[in-house]
């Protein structure tokens, strides 16, 4: 209870939003109704309240009518609350003396053909907002300092670009990668469309930069274990997985001068355990102690403890000088403090064998696009010679199944979205076949060719002119000739309007992409929502594509939705820019929706302590009584304690119980009774 209870003097402003609101709701009626409400001294309407003249109306009315509460009935507070709060402040009021009635997104747009129902609802929405506005109090936003460091999770091309940008802007950046090396998916590719640059050649300079940059703390073979805190002050616990190999710095810490792994590879020579190399899609062997490929960053071997037999041969060959191998290494934990975080956790391919009709994993010569990349890559398992897995022969007729799982609501795959880069990489694959194998013909089975980027359509024409065949139709099934291991592709040619059946030497499936298996866990740790299709949800699809609803967390790359390399890099640079703003500003303003204990009511039972997920509440002795105390720095304002307190002794600022009850009463009792 405020001691000096002032008379409410409220101004209500109703926005037409062009015809967005005025087309479904009687503005005049709502205005007349607002004028009758208790505490309202002025009600007005305007075409666009968010425009400069609209905001000036608020500022002028505050001065003219000596208002102490503002209600704007317009769009969502998630959109324009900051705009009108600023206007309220400019008019000389505390910015929290503002309340919004959402009569557009939650009214006129969803009741477009119900003039009376929508108008009635709008009146109630204004009534409810005025009820709250009558009870609003002055609050001060809390300013907190921001750590001068950032975290980038994921060391693919997006993560690396974001880290390089942040680091070059003078921010200490932790780049975290779960694999033993940075590089991500892009390092597995042979060439990039449409320029046909060698993927590794343009990626490795970035990998080297990431390793060398003085402001980048590179943590490979590391995962995020725990996330605490909020924008400006995240405390993140990292799990450094046991690598079994010491880098030179770690070796020095153990007193081994001049020791540590130098990447000579003697250990892998002697290692007796042979496993498939996941980097080569399992088509080449690796040892239990391994590197993915020669350009890894950092150049540091890693032991796969799941397959290591601990024979010790590697320890012996490594020798007493380097002593780089420690077979008893365990996971270690590190706590870092950062101001902002960028998630660039990439993507995975769907298990395309689920589409049984295409026979992946049943038929030797059906492979995926990524396997094709490794087979055609000069540094790949076959030295760049495309061969049929069944017999090692060079394929002359290669089929490409586009939209393999993408744009598909059937067959348990259920990926209704376009994976966006498969059209283009399949065109690139077609080109590579014709370039490397004289006389070979690629057949592309497509639904639509989506060549939307810069120089992409031109690339499509080029592949057409080079002689690739295009058959428009989704492939019904693929059968295998058991003797020749050739594949019979059955589809409908929708342009000719008849079924076709073609024999191929090899078929490449352009499999759909999906979020990584870790995506769910990571997004819950960082408090990021997901879209309906599982990708991480951006704050606004158009106007805030890098941000998330959790302040201080940003997104880059495919984890937000399928995109090709240029778009990933562009988004990474955008995310880095967005993530650097709070850090360079040095402080952020938090909304002061903190819990407060009303000491005279608090009985000191302490039940609220278990409700708080942040440990922000404590019991203290005050004037001879036990009462609860809130640590504002830890409180995030959810109100879970306030919703639970049996005595009603916790006041949630801006969402107080009297305010919410007044809102309920206003609607149900209409101010009467």
């Amino acid at each position: 209870m405020a001691e000096t209870k002032e008379e409410p003097r409220i101004g209500v402003f109703i926005c037409h939003c062009g015809t967005n609101i005025a087309g479904s709701i009687s503005i005049e009626e709502v205005k007349k109704y607002a004028e009758t409400l208790d505490g309202v001294v002025v009600a007005d309407e305007y075409q666009y309240m968010c425009s400069t003249p609209g905001q000036s109306m608020i500022i002028d009315a505050i001065k003219e009518h000596n208002l102490n509460g503002i209600v704007v009935a317009a769009c969502s507070p998630r959109l324009h609350e900051p705009t009108f709060r600023t206007a309220t402040q400019e008019g000389g009021l505390n910015m929290f003396r503002f309340e919004m009635a959402n009569i557009r997104d939650q009214n006129s747009w969803v009741h477009m053909h119900d003039w009376e129902g929508a108008t009635e609802k709008a009146k109630d929405q204004v009534l409810i907002a005025v009820a709250k506005a009558r009870m609003l109090e002055d609050l001060q936003p809390k300013s907190v300092p921001v750590e001068h460091s950032a975290l980038v999770l994921g060391g693919g091309v997006g993560g690396m670009q974001a880290a390089l940008d942040l680091a070059s802007a003078g921010i200490k950046t932790y780049l975290i990668e779960k694999a033993p090396t940075v590089g991500g998916r892009m390092s597995q590719l042979d060439k990039t469309f449409p320029t046909l640059d060698c993927s590794q050649c343009i990626l490795t300079p970035k990998m080297v930069d990431v390793g060398r940059h003085p402001n980048i703390e590179l943590r490979t073979y590391t995962e995020v274990e725990k996330v605490e805190g909020y924008i400006g002050n995240f405390t993140i616990t990292l799990r450094k997985k046991a690598r079994g190999v010491l880098d030179p710095t770690e070796a020095l810490e153990r007193g081994i001068v001049g020791g540590g792994c130098n990447g000579c590879g003697d250990c892998a020579e002697v290692c007796p355990v042979i496993k498939p190399n996941p980097f080569e899609m399992g088509m080449a062997p690796r040892k239990a102690i391994y590197i993915y490929h020669p350009q890894v960053m950092p150049l540091l071997y890693t032991i796969d403890f799941d397959s290591c037999v601990k024979c010790g041969l590697c320890v012996d060959i490594c020798g007493p000088e380097k002593r780089a191998i420690d077979l008893d290494m365990v996971d270690t934990f590190e706590e870092i403090k950062v101001g902002t975080c960028i998630l660039a956790i990439g993507y995975d391919y769907i298990p395309i064998e689920q589409k049984k009709e295409w026979g992946y994993k049943r038929f030797d010569n059906v492979i995926t696009g990524l396997e094709f990349e490794r087979l055609i890559c000069a540094s790949g398992p076959t030295g760049g010679h495309l061969i049929r897995p069944s017999d090692g022969q060079t394929p002359m007729k290669v089929g490409f199944v586009l939209c393999a799982g993408s744009r598909d609501n059937t067959g348990g795959v259920n990926k209704p979205y376009c994976s966006r880069f498969c059209c283009m990489y399949s065109l690139k694959h077609a080109h590579q076949i014709m370039e490397k194998i004289p006389g070979a013909v690629p057949y592309l089975f497509y639904m639509d060719i989506r060549s939307f980027g810069k120089m992409y359509e031109e690339f499509y024409y080029r592949i057409q002119n080079e002689g690739a065949k295009f058959i428009r139709g989704r492939v019904a099934n693929i059968l295998e000739d058991p003797i020749t291991k050739n594949l019979i592709v059955n589809t409908e040619d929708t342009l000719l309007g008849r079924p076709v059946s073609m024999e191929m030497d090899m078929v490449v499936l352009a499999a759909a992409v999906q979020p990584t298996p870790e995506s769910e866990k990571i997004r819950q740790m960082f408090g990021v929502s997901k879209s309906q299709d599982g990708w991480l949800l951006e704050a606004h699809p158009k106007l805030n594509p890098c941000g998330t609803t959790t302040a201080g967390i940003y997104l880059a790359g495919v984890c937000q939705g399928p995109k090709d390399i240029p778009d990933t890099v562009a988004q990474a640079e955008g995310a880095a820019s967005a993530a650097s703003i709070p850090i360079h500003t040095g402080e952020v303003q938090l909304e002061p929706y903190f819990a407060q204990c009303m000491d005279d009511i608090c009985a000191g039972c302490g039940l609220c302590l278990q409700q708080c997920p942040y440990g922000a509440l404590d019991l203290i002795e005050k004037n001879g009584r036990t009462v609860m105390e809130v640590t504002e720095a830890k409180c995030k304002g959810c109100g879970t304690c306030g919703g639970f307190c049996p005595g009603g002794a916790i006041k949630m600022q801006h969402f107080t119980s009297p305010q919410i009850c007044a809102q309920i009463d206003a609607f149900l009792l209409k101010g009467g009774e």
Binding site: P77, R78, N102, D105, W109, I128, Q524, F644
Partner: protein
């Protein structure tokens, strides 16, 4: 006794991060639903004091909806879970005073589920309309 033109009074208390955003998304996508529900925004469903619900029914509400994030998605880690636990208590209380506990519902609508919000609105209004006006209204002064 429910006549065709009777419009139920339903209050929704919804969280800022998921359901309110989902409701906004429904607007952007022009999902059409009946206009009987009045929403009150809170930061988290954890804020919902059981007394708010009892107060609403005492005031004559015909139905009530609490809507938050999906489990595991709460912006404040577990506010929605805490709220859901309280709902069992409140539903029991409602039954004890002779109210059909279907008048109170808790749903989980994420920021990307605009269509689901529309479906929830349809269903809540339908359920309450079938139940008819709150019997507590008879005891109003």
């Amino acid at each position: 006794m429910t006549d065709e033109n009777w419009n139920p009074k339903i209050i929704a208390i919804i969280c800022n991060w998921c359901s309110y955003a989902g409701a906004d998304l429904a607007g952007g996508a022009r999902v059409q639903y009946p206009p009987d529900v009045r929403a009150i925004r809170v930061m988290c469903t954890g804020r919902v004091d059981p007394l708010f619900i009892m107060k609403a029914f005492q005031d004559g509400a015909d139905g009530m909806l609490i809507s938050g994030c999906h489990f595991g998605d709460c912006h404040y880690l577990e506010g929605n879970y805490k709220c859901a636990k309280r709902m069992f208590l409140v539903k029991n209380l409602l039954k004890n005073i002779g109210l059909d506990d279907n008048r109170l519902r808790m749903t989980f609508v994420s920021a990307s589920e605009g269509a689901k919000w529309g479906a929830v609105m349809e269903d809540v209004v339908k359920t309450v309309k079938e139940l008819g006006p709150s019997p507590l209204k008879k005891y109003e002064r």
